[in-house]
Amino acid sequence: MGLKNLAMAVALLLASPAHADVAGAINNRILPDLGAFRDATRTLAETAAETCAPETLRPVWNAAFDAWLPVSFLRLGPAEDEGRILAIAFWPDPKGIGARQQRQLLQSQDAVVGDPAGFAERSVALRGFFALERLLYPTEPLTGDYPCALIRATAADLARMAAEIDQGWRDGFAQTLLSAGQPGNSLYLTEAEAKQALYTQLMTGFEFTADQRLGRPLGTFERPRPERAEARASARSLRNVELSLQSLLAFGEALAGPLPETRADVAQALTAAAALKDPDFSGFAQPQGHVRAEALLGLVRTAQDSAGAEAGAALGVEVGFNSADGD
């Protein structure tokens, strides 16, 4: 064990002068990206406090969403606590729970918008980016003062959660990962478990983009479901796929060192994505658009396989024995 670890550590040092490992992933990607997400959502909340004009808020909301994608696949630690990650991006929502709850709030002009602590306790479906998207890109015009108050409350709640995640990582969770295997660390009993935890985020991140962001609107050739696309109203469905792939590659390389095959696969997927020229995936309803999107999905899955193999080999971990194959 000891010798094997030592050999692996030497191999990693030789292979990656940038020193990719758990610390590298935390210091070079996770903490800076969380800080950027925190700042972007704070800007959104501050802007919303000044104006509710959609034309002013939309670019700021989009900038915050862009900042979300590099950390959106880190479903562990402070992001999981108190359902934060669910509330920040409650999607997919196949039964339209978020839209229904928001309609009720608008109809009843619920006073919770003036009570940040109360708002934070409301359903995860009612909050976050997609709640704001429905308010900034409404299907029917919103009237009166209440929608503005709701935009402000939702943006402030989002900024609060982003700040809490950032704080949670800096104040303890980063150290929990870095101290894996040391006495007193009851979450990660070995260094390998911390590596595996981050490796799993990489894998599930690719999987989410493949199965949910692409697979869900693809449906089947006979029955495409473009109306299921993520962030369709704001027409950033394709952008989310592109940014997530870039973010996953950057994270994977910060964690495991150069991933040449993954890099090539992601580049190919990005080329295919750009060629779709279909920002909200409405073209998935056309036979040609569907076929090309299916090809893109295949490329994303190939990239996932490469990342799994390359990062797994570099880190000496794999998907959990039972997670991989249960019954």
């Binding site: 359902g83 669910l86 959990g320 024995f321 997670s323």
Partner: protein, 353 residues
């Protein structure tokens, strides 16, 4: 009745002086299969997580059934199961090899009668996934002596209750006999079936029609006749449904939801379940979590543990095994690591006795 029968059985067993007992196998409290290196083993575990025996297995197992008296474990192959092995845990040998009848497949789990005379196991008609309970004569070399319908599709775990009643989780999923591909997810309708010790249908319950895609797969028993069911959601993963259902005969099924913030933590998948003391625990390897409820089905907490899978009752809580090789105790002070072994614990942890 059950106690009388049990008394007579143990009396008879004492008179005939069994050649070996579980003491000869190191008195394990638990059985667990594992992957070690490229091979597979069956281990006996003490309550402190120490390994008291390890026996090589020819292939990956799914779950084991422990003989109530003799130091024998029956390890069932993973689906589609073509064999089960009776392992002499004292001698470290394979004592018998069970093969399903033509056209049948084992489905991963089995249970002994209280007197240890009979072994029951879940199996399917390979072509249709119609459920069967195989009955084997454990006193006479595990001869196949009977079979009964399980009254459902794709039975998975079955448990013997204190009064001898068998309770069967008919998971509802029809699978391709060759590759386990799921064939009927749109129409599946799992059920929980109670059979008499002679195989007569006593009772059957289903979940609400909205939950027809929640496969009932694993079971834990309470002393009061409660059957705790662990579910695996085959519907849209974006929908969060309860994964714990409680049932007592002549009572309605109770679904046990979690708070919204915890509702996706299991990823729709409960891999194992145990009821111990005043707690029920469900594990989710894909979620890397253990969810804990009280015995009335009220949610208590979610605990993170990498690749957590096996779970079984301990005297003072529950024992949890995982794919990293750790064995932990879940008690009032949370999840406390007991031991770490250089292997990967497989799906299930089985308590003896």
């Amino acid at each position: 009745m059950a106690t009388r029968r049990g008394f007579l059985a143990s009396f008879a067993a004492a008179l005939t002086v069994p050649r070996l007992s579980w003491a000869d196998a190191g008195n394990p409290g638990f059985l667990a299969a594992a992957k070690q290196g490229d091979g597979f083993i069956l281990c006996g575990l003490a309550p402190d997580g120490q390994i008291v025996f390890r026996i090589p297995l020819p292939a990956r197992g799914h779950a084991a059934a422990a003989h109530p008296i003799r130091p024998e474990a029956v390890g069932f192959a993973r689906r589609p199961g073509t064999f089960a092995l009776v392992i002499d845990c004292a001698r470290g040998e394979i004592a018998h090899r069970l093969t399903p009848p033509e056209g049948r497949q084992f489905n991963g789990h089995g249970a002994f009668s209280a007197d240890g005379l009979l072994l029951y196991n879940s199996e399917v008609v390979a072509e249709t996934s119609e459920g069967r309970i195989g009955v084997w004569d454990a006193a006479r070399g595990y001869a196949r002596i009977d079979e009964w319908p399980s009254h459902g599709i794709g039975p998975h775990e079955l448990r013997r209750m204190g009064d001898g009643t068998l309770v069967v989780a008919n998971g509802g999923i029809q699978t391709d006999p060759a590759d386990r591909r799921k064939l009927n997810l749109d129409t599946m309708r799992p059920n929980l079936t109670y059979l008499s010790p002679e195989g007569a249908l006593l009772d059957q319950v289903t979940l609400h029609p909205d939950l027809h895609q929640a496969s009932i797969r694993h079971l834990a028993l309470g002393a009061d006749g409660t059957v705790a069911c662990a579910l695996q959601w085959e519907g849209d993963p974006a929908e969060a449904v309860p994964l714990l259902a409680l049932h007592r005969r002549d009572h309605p099924v109770v679904m046990c939801p979690t708070p919204e913030n915890e509702a996706w933590a299991m990823k729709g998948y409960a891999g194992s379940i145990a009821l111990g003391g005043d707690r029920i625990a469900l594990t989710s390897p894909p979620g890397g979590v253990v969810q804990v409820f009280d015995t009335a089905g009220n949610f208590i907490e979610t605990i993170r543990r990498t690749d957590a899978s096996g779970v079984a009752p301990l005297a003072d809580g529950l024992m949890v095994t995982d794919g990293t090789g750790a064995i932990s105790r879940l008690g009032p002070d949370g999840l406390v690591p007991l031991q770490r072994h250089d292997l990967a614990w497989d799906n299930h942890l089985v308590a003896l006795g």
